[in-house]
């Protein structure tokens, strides 16, 4: 490898580290992303121009490589620019899956190349099947494949095209598959099992495992799963780094692997659950939803738009609790207008942001930021919870599990122990909801049956639009 390329790789690695660091603060995040992107571009073109194989020859097939880059850029750019802000989580999952598939393909090609070379008896480059080489090939293949198929399932689940799927003994089947993968990988690495077919069989098992791994996990836990699969792909990329002794792949991959794992754990903590608990799919682990409506005495009380508008217009403090329903209905702009209208009437308005509201941590922040809601008005859970007692009206928009008091009161509830927004302490709670369907965790919400709760049924955007008109008329 040329010294120039080594320096380019070093600079790219630094750009990843600095970029990741800068992504951690709102003021520098955007620049951080651009730095990392610049480092990546340099690494890619440096590789194309300066990379030398073991025997010192430059890379072949350059026109085709450039073509592939152009095709990929066009497709990726178009998808990324066109996607709705509300669909960001599944987009991230999709791109993550592509990275995993890329890592797995590299392994397949490398291994085939090696077995061919062995068959011809040529001692080509790294065709000597050392254990380290096989370790890198098999590792990239298995983790890349799991990441790919898992991400695609997560993508489908967030698009609500794929339903949760569970059967009895699923955990044992999954555990058994995992053991098979570990055993087969070990045999391949040790050289007891070989051939392209062997590798493809292993890839197939890993792909199926990825599907089985994500299928039973409840939709509400998809953010955690995506974050975990994200770190998987990082590790898969690092295996590629091992394979080629390529430092920038190694550094980029491991950084994402470790940072991604920590991020996953932080997310689990926000829900007061362990990673194990999430992965074993405790949400609705039983076939029937927990806590049927029959367990709640009383009935829900619908409210009409006019009454809701009066309550809001004459309140002193209003707290808005956004949830996934807001994202689905694309209601972020209307809610901002409503907030604006209320403020012009002297009402103090804040947004209460639960760490896992929506389908990703920070999902609501991104969404409301799009509608120009000032940063200072978004209040995190710990800060807003003591304020609910002083709040006149809480407007829950398409949020459910994050305001379910069962998390505090019912030890049998699957979300028991998850910190929630204490909206029930407010004088009046108005819940905007499409129907009485339960939330993503599939459990009933006792909040809706409380005497100080009223329900405003309908699409969040439609309801908010009429609500806004009514408030203006007051």
């Amino acid at each position: 490898m040329s010294d120039v390329l080594a320096i380019i790789y070093l600079l790219a690695s630094v750009s990843f580290i600095v970029g990741l660091k800068m992504l951690g603060s709102p003021a520098t995040a955007r620049r951080g992303n651009l730095y990392a992107a610049a480092g990546m571009v340099a690494a890619i073109f440096g590789t194309i121009a300066l990379y030398r194989t073991a025997d010192g020859s430059p890379l072949q097939n350059l026109p085709l490589i450039i073509t592939a880059l152009v095709v990929g850029t066009t497709i990726g750019w178009t998808m990324a620019v066109r996607v709705q802000m509300t669909s960001m989580p599944e987009m991230v999952s999709f791109f993550n899956g592509m990275g995993g598939a890329c890592a797995a393909l590299i392994s397949v090609i490398e291994y085939t190349h090696m077995t061919n070379a062995q068959a011809q008896g040529t001692a080509d480059g790294h065709a000597t099947a050392s254990m380290g080489y096989l370790f890198a090939v098999v590792g990239g293949l298995v983790i890349g494949s799991v990441s790919f198929s898992g991400s695609i399932i997560a993508f489908g689940k967030l698009k609500e095209k794929i339903k949760d799927f569970r059967f009895k003994g699923q955990h044992f089947v999954n555990m058994f598959m995992m053991l098979v993968i570990v055993a087969a990988s070990t045999m391949l690495i040790m050289g007891y099992w070989s051939g392209s077919e062997a590798l493809l069989i292993l890839a197939a098992i890993a792909l199926i495992y990825g599907v089985m791994f994500v299928l039973p996990i409840g939709g509400a836990d998809m953010p955690v799963v995506i974050s975990l699969l994200n770190s998987f792909t990082g590790v898969a990329a690092a295996f590629g780094g091992f394979l080629y002794g390529n430092m920038v792949m190694l550094i980029g991959g491991i950084l994402v692997g470790s940072a991604g794992t920590l991020l996953t754990i932080v997310m689990c903590k926000a829900m007061n659950r362990s990673l194990m608990n999430v992965l074993l799919g405790s949400f609705g682990a039983t076939a029937t939803p927990v806590g049927g409506s029959a367990t709640f005495a009383g009935s829900v009380r619908p409210i009409n738009v006019g009454d809701a508008a009066v309550l809001l217009a004459y309140a002193k403090q209003v707290v808005i609790v956004p949830g996934y329903g807001l994202a689905v209905a694309q209601a972020q702009h209307v809610v901002h207008q409503l907030e604006h209208e209320l403020e012009s009437r002297g009402v103090e308005v804040k947004y209460a942001i639960h760490p896992v509201a929506g389908r990703m941590p920070g999902h609501m922040n991104v969404l409301l930021a799009e509608a120009d809601v000032p940063y200072e008005q978004l209040v995190e859970m710990e800060e807003i919870n003591p304020e609910f007692e002083r709040t006149d009206v809480v407007l829950v928009i398409g949020a459910n599990d994050v305001v379910n008091p069962a998390a505090k009161t019912d030890p049998t509830s699957p979300i028991y122990g998850m910190p929630i927004l204490d909206v029930e302490n407010a004088r009046q709670v108005i819940v905007l909801k499409r129907s009485m369907k339960s939330g993503y965790a599939g459990i009933e919400n006792e909040l809706f049956y409380r005497p100080n709760t009223s329900m405003l049924f309908g699409d969040a955007k439609a309801s908010l639009t009429t609500l806004l008109a009514e408030v203006k008329a007051q």
Binding site: I48, I106, T233, G240, L250, G260
Partner: protein, 94 residues
Amino acid sequence: MDPSTLQMIYLVVLMVFLGIELIGHVPSVLHTPLMSGANAIHGVVIIGSIIVMGQAETTLALILGFIAVILGTLNVVGGFVVTNRMLEMFKKRS
């Protein structure tokens, strides 16, 4: 163990700690962009696909390599553009 392998193991261990340190104190507001940014960075796997395609000798290897480069590019370009779009919204406010 040969020196270069040892070197890589050193690097892996140090990077694990660095990764943890980098994410340690990030406000939850930025979790989504951060995950998305990290997602783009592991697109560095594309380097491997370029190397493997540049050494492809059979048509099959070339086709698979071609697909791998496209997928890797999707990860890189899509990842960075999506992250930038998310962060653009934070910028508007300040």
